[in-house]
Amino acid sequence: MPDVSVTIDGTQINVPVGTNVVDAARLAGVAVPVFCYHPKMKPVGMCRMCLVEVYTPKVDPATRQVVMGEDGKPVLALMMNKLQTGCTTPISEGMVVNTASDRVKFAQKGVLEFLLTSHPLDCPVCDKGGECPLQNLTMQWGPDSSRFDYEDKIHFEKPIPLGDLILLDRERCILCSRCVRFEDELADDNVLGFGSRGRSWEIISKSTPAFDSKFSGNTTDICPVGALTSSDFRFKARVWELKSTPSVCNLCPVGCNTSLDMRYNELMRVMPRENDAVNEIWVCDKGRYGHRYAVQENRLTTPLIKRNGEFVSATWEQAYSLIAERLGSYSGAQVAGLAGPKLPNEDLFSFARLFRENLGSNNLDHRPGSPADLPLDDLPRTYGVGKGTNLMTLGKGTAVLVIGADPEEEAPLYQLRLRAIAQRGGDLTVVSGYPTKLERSATRKVRVKPGTEAQFALALVQAVAAEKLASEEVLGSGRLKFSDEYRRVLAAHKFDDLVAATGLAREVVITTAKAFASAEHGIIVYGRSAAADPAIPQALAAFAALTGKLGKANSGLIALRPGGNFRGALDMGVRPDAAGQPGLSAQQVWQQAGTGVKAVYIAALNPAAENPAAAQALQKLDFVVVQDLFLTETAQYADVVLPAAAVIEREGTFTNAERREQRFRQARQAPANLPADWQSFQAVAQLLAERAPVAVAARTLKKGAKVFTPEAPQGWTAMLTSDVNDMVTRSVSGYNAASYSALSTSRGAWGRQPNEAVYYDGTSYENTEGVGIQIAASAEDSRTTLQLNLSAPALRPVGELVLLPVARAYDGGDWVRGSKLSARQVPAHIIMSVADTARLDVGIGELVTVSSAAGSITLPVQIETGLDLGVALLPEVRGSTLGALLTGAQTAITVVKA
């Protein structure tokens, strides 16, 4: 955009056309006080705090020429002959702004005096005290006293709940509407509004349940006063007592940057830490309120060994020796390791080493081994969004295709980030077989017949050829290689048949393909429903590759899979499909329990909770080690239970869905000085190495073993987590630049200017501790050949109804312990269409028995009006025992009234 030149308080600067006066002043180093304006939202001009004098060159109405004065300079005229709100006034060429004249100061004092007339001034007991823009602005711009009669103050009942998480103090509220606008504009949750008018105007919740938003906590940050407080933090501490530790949320693959605000060893609150490429300045409620599990009373603090069916406390030495002795007594093929995708990279790396090097086993997985497990998919390693990707910068010129994903449920922040791209003019297509929230923000909402995302994706690939949408550059590079299967699948699936299967008009597929192909940047986000059938990621990768949306910043795939660090688990090699090192998957481990497999080491996973088959299998094993924070359902079957430090009690790194590795620090001392998970893995490995020094090193290093190449197979000598990270940087491809010091580098994120804390205080924490490093996708190396493959879509099962599992953010997982969100966890239920429930004559909440070839379960019904006849959704929440029912990506079921 072209720049225009303006003068602000005597400083002349050039700013892009369309910038408002407040932002232009920020660039000129001039602070204009604001309350209602927030740079992340549209200006509304309500609070009148930002009043300034704006002069524009006078234009002769007849000649339309700027009138020149005797001094040869343009004659200036005060705009509209009164003060203007800087937040709503776009700058124009030759504008002169005065933010400090007597008239402006009088108005600023006036607005502040007005705002304080009915303000309770209960700063000494207000949570915002110390980081309150109203305090700050009053100090800098306000009157020194109020002339308002104390008796005339208006009083409201002190905090009333807006919902179960957020309370509203109407006496403190200055009615800036930031909270309402955040929910409407950014989150697309129309849950807040206004009641009454004038001085009785007040914020109200419009939704049932009240304040029903997964992003509600952010309103407490952007509220410029202490009107909104969270039930999680209110009255717990004064903000200046808090010490903030940079952290990263691992509850989903967004990897929001957070700050853990501690008082001594106590976690007081979780705040967002700005990172424009990840979470901007937000976090979801799960990230904000879902990290209290670590501070629960019932944490395990000592190792337990089962003797005669009872757990007894043991020393670490006893536990480690027993584990080493027992695991070491089996052949590699007889042992298996399962480590959860929420563990940090250092731990996953050490776990993989322990198995591959010291135990000689490739039976590694990060999935729980349920029929609901998603097939492994590592296409984003090659076709993922390139280094330098930053969704916050995208808008016009970007096409985003979201397919088979419900971002708000699978990775909440993507709801905000993808919606924002559409609002900035990007082209957002949402393809889904069932209603999702994001589709409301879509440029193109594409509702396919449930379970036909694969046909849609293949149709896109076909459309590339039919409509000549392939990128000349990519085709010409000769990098693309097509497998025979690729050609066979394309030949066997005609465009028209594919389109017919999806139930769409062919134009819909073609316009989607064209919009994507013609955009400068193209991003494909796919989630749970897409990953269930490997044919879908393959087709999407092919579509991205053919249209040239690969190997560069802001183009490529983003996969959303369960687990905040699933990407790290794949990269660190906790997977049964590592090149040249195939092993058993978790599901195979359970199938072969007691026969081929004798012993299993499980860390940070709880397979028994959801999958009856896993619970049975565990009983058939000779030896089970479970490493976790709590005595979980799975731990009940263990022979040895090892406790571990929680994320907030140690440091480490996570890799997010866009392959950005980010570092988190230790905020709290672990109870009983518990070791980090990797430390236990190392202790066991050291004992094993003593027993059988180099038993397996040669095998690990054989040709083709690309996942990692440890420099010293016996090098189990890490003292600090950073030592493990050093090994990661040397061994894991792509991670060589991600040293701790590099990960700690920051840059100004959303353009904070000096002095801004004054009015964006409490909004989020400035990131001075590192924004992470994005790992390049392998397609970025122009020498990599790109082997494209396709598969036939999974056949839609024939049955009365088709069952699709869907993800839920509030899944009732272990993170919810101690969280204010416990009340928001829903019990297991099945979601059916209006027509199907009418046919079965069941109402909301009534029980049905759902049966498949695998088994049957009984659970209550919910009705979704937007759902197609013949489809049922089963949310993956604690207690849904999905595993008992599924037979594949889609499962044929029958449902009867229970």
């Binding site: 200006p43 509304v44 001009g45 309500m46 609070c47 009148r48 705090m49 009043l51 009164k82 003060l83 709503t88 009088f106 108005a107 004092k109 006036g110 607005v111 005096e113 007005f114 705002l115 007339t117 009915s118 002339r147 308002f148 009669d149 104390y150 008796e151 005339d152 208006i154 200055i174 009615l175 509004g193 206004f194 009454s196 008018r197 004038g198 001085r199 009785s200 105007w201």
Partner: protein
């Protein structure tokens, strides 16, 4: 100037029972519309309204034809809104037009809609006007029945639907953008401008909004021609104005006068106000509704047109002329007026929401004899902190009464404070506790 022999909008005074559809038709009703849709282009109608110099009667006096010309070309659909929120204290002419001459308004709406090429028009009427809303509904039904509204009007292919929407009782909903919010089902609060309604109004589509009286003028302009119309009024304020005269006059009511007659004549002519009650002298005249700055008795010779009233430092506004005699206290009047604005403030912006609250608190104590010594400078500060700083004109209007009162009658404030006793801090040591009955 003699009294009008022929009215333009209050034609119920010339033609008995013009509120009956048949009577309206017998007196040439819908002829202007018929000739327009069958013989004239929309541009020609806009041209005539422009040439006639019709100015908006809702308050700002903006030239109507010019406003219509602001519509961006080729952006459809467009909407026409008729503003009948009529909530400005002292204003009641819209109600009379609807009650007694409703068909002329509907014809005016049909003509204007045709001129601005829109196919949907809404009449936003204040909620309290329940009977008037029913009258309008009936008049609209009459027009549909005769084919003046609906599909393919008079065989021309032009379609138009007109709907009546009742508000819920808020003065702010008369402000054009708040009206649109309310019509869209949202809370009635003004919008940020630009974009202006002509560019993005109702449902973000190009929208024209006009007052009832403005639209009721249109059939006469089109029917009788620009020449005829311009014989009334002044060069800059052509035509007539239905003034709502109220206060201490002998004959309050609506009087349609050509623009340009002296204020004195409206108050004293026997056919209009008929003089002051009990022959007491005039103390204050508020010439354009509660928002207009006050005038004193020395201004009775100004002419009642946009230019004349503006030159005297006030504004013609909605044409509600409130005349008050010496029995009125300026302090109390300011208090009452600002109480109105406080009650009607929508709450969106700080200076109006808090300022009106602040002003009325201080005015109340001064007017009840409990003023503080420095209340006069305080009042000056408070209204100055509001003036020019509010989001919309309601807050700006709230400044008028207090500024006028302090400027014209400072001695009354001084006296009220001097003779009064500041409240002796009746802070209750023990708060009152309601005792629950068993």
């Amino acid at each position: 100037m003699p009294p009008l022999t022929e009215h333009i909008v209050l034609r119920d005074l010339d033609i008995p029972n013009i509120r009956d559809f048949d009577v309206y038709l017998q007196h040439g009703g819908y002829e202007a519309f018929r000739s327009a849709v069958t013989e004239k282009t929309p541009a020609e109608i806009i041209g005539m309204v422009k040439d006639a110099g019709l100015r908006g009667r809702g308050g700002a006096g903006f030239p109507t034809g010019v406003k219509w010309g602001f519509l961006p070309k080729d952006v459809f659909p467009r909407y026409l809104l008729c503003n009948c929120d009529e909530s400005e204290p002292g204003t009641f002419n819209n109600h009379q037009i609807i009650d007694r001459n409703p068909h002329q308004l509907i014809e005016g709406i049909a003509l204007s809609a045709y001129a601005v090429e829109c196919h949907t028009a809404y009449i936003y009427i204040r909620g309290e006007f329940a009977a008037a809303a029913r009258t309008l509904d009936a008049a609209i039904q009459n027009a549909y029945a005769k084919g003046f509204l609906g599909k393919n009007i008079l065989g021309t292919g032009y379609d138009l639907d007109v709907f009546v929407h009742r508000g819920a009782g808020a003065y702010i909903c008369g402000e054009e953008t708040a009206l649109m919010e309310s019509l869209e089902g949202k809370i009635g609060q003004p919008r940020l401008k630009p974009p202006f309604p002509a560019v993005a109004g109702l449902y973000a589509k190009p929208t024209i909004i006009n007052n009832v009286e403005t639209l009721a003028n249109v059939p006469m302009i089109i029917g009788k021609g620009v020449q005829w119309y311009r014989q009334f009024g002044t060069e800059k304020s052509p035509g007539t104005k239905a003034f709502s005269l109220s206060g201490h006059v002998n004959n309050p009511g609506n009087y349609e006068l050509p623009f340009g007659l002296p204020l004195r004549e409206l108050i004293y002519a026997p056919e209009y106000g008929g003089g002051m009650r009990g022959d007491r002298p005039v103390k204050i005249v508020i010439p354009g509704g509660a928002s207009a700055p006050w005038l004193t008795a020395d201004k009775l010779d100004i002419t009642l047109d946009y230019e004349g009233v503006a030159a005297a430092g006030s504004m013609l506004g909605s044409g509600a002329v409130i005349v008050l005699d010496e029995t009125v206290s300026a302090v109390e009047l300011a208090y009452k007026m600002d109480e109105f604005f406080k009650h009607e403030s929508c709450g969106k912006c700080t200076p109006c929401r808090e300022g009106t609250w602040y002003l009325t608190k201080v005015l109340h104590r001064v007017s009840t004899g409990h003023g503080h010594a420095n209340d006069i400078p305080l009042l000056h500060d408070v209204y100055n902190q509001m003036a020019g700083n509010c989001f919309c004109l309601l807050g700006e209007s709230a400044v008028s009464p207090i500024r006028s009162a302090l400027k014209l009658f400072p001695e009354e404030f001084e006296a009220a404070i001097r003779n009064g006793t500041p409240r002796q801090a009746p802070r209750l040591a023990i708060p009152l506790v309601a005792v629950a009955a068993d």
